[in-house]
């Protein structure tokens, strides 16, 4: 697995660039990850990102878009507005997690 330098730190990532070690993540890093994909984080962005991190602690896998919506209580429509195009992948990238594996 490659490593890459993000915000002056050595970070382990997969071939696509998703973090492979969630423990290397912190909120400061998230700012840089978001900037990498053209997103400026606002309070509204942090709600799903914090949900993903918290959910990962117990589930050990990245929540799907539907789970962020039904369990995290954020409407899918809002997630598409906050993270345009590919919300599930963009959110998990910024949250320092692998992209979700579930189909739905």
């Amino acid at each position: 697995m490659p490593t890459t330098t993000i915000a002056g730190r050595q970070i382990d990532v997969d071939a696509e660039g998703f973090l492979t070690k969630p423990e290397q993540w912190d909120e400061e890093l998230a700012q840089t990850l978001a900037a990498n994909i053209g997103i400026t984080l606002t309070d509204a962005h942090w709600v799903p990102i914090h949900f993903l991190r918290k959910d990962f602690e117990t589930q050990k896998e990245t929540a799907t878009l539907r789970r962020v919506s039904t369990v995290g209580g954020i409407p899918v429509k809002d997630l598409f507005a906050l993270f345009p195009g590919k919300p599930a992948k963009k959110m998990s990238y910024i949250a320092g997690l692998q992209k979700p594996k579930g189909c739905v």
Partner: protein
């Protein structure tokens, strides 16, 4: 120092990828392929259009969308859960009450995977920006108007209209 590795999230709309799904079946098991693929495509930023026609109307008819059924009559692949290769006797599928039993079984298996029922799935697709269209001829045959259909349905349109608005799209017929 290596270059920073950043995932490419190129918007599919910039590449013009578009998916058209024609849903023509009203059985519970045949409703899901279209819904799941639509959801996957939307998550990839792909423009998705669903066209509900003939029996597929049951997926968007408010009266029926939550009550789709599953029967294995004519489906020789049906086996008891976990017993691959042991087909269920076809004759049994025709017994009174059997469709209710198999429907309940399938609904439970779907729910166990945390996959929503059809009406909630339509909400998910609608919230994700899917465009849903109802077939004019089917509506006329069944004497249904837009108010009888799921709220997220854009309009009742002709087959020609659908072909026009899905110009250049990849197409799935289910």
């Amino acid at each position: 120092m290596t270059d920073m590795i950043v995932p490419s999230f190129d918007d599919a709309t910039s590449t013009g990828r578009k998916l058209a799904i024609i849903c023509s079946k009203g059985n519970l098991d045949m409703a899901y392929p279209g819904l799941i693929l639509a959801n996957a495509a939307l998550g990839e930023g792909i423009e998705v259009h669903l066209f509900f026609t003939f029996w597929g109307f049951d997926m968007i008819n408010k009266e029926t969308m939550g009550k789709l059924k599953f029967s294995y009559l004519g489906n020789t692949a049906m086996h008891m859960p976990g017993h691959f290769g042991m087909s269920m006797p076809q004759g049994m599928a025709g017994l009174p009450g059997m469709t209710a039993v198999t429907t309940k079984m399938m609904k439970k298996q779907i729910a166990d995977l945390d996959v929503p029922e059809v009406p909630e799935f339509l909400d998910l697709l609608h919230g994700s920006g899917a465009k849903m269209w109802a077939c004019r001829m089917s509506a006329d045959m069944m004497h249904l108007e837009k108010e009888h259909l799921y709220e997220g349905v854009e309009d009742i349109i002709s087959a020609t209209d659908f072909i026009e608005l899905t110009d250049g799209a990849q197409l799935l017929f289910i």
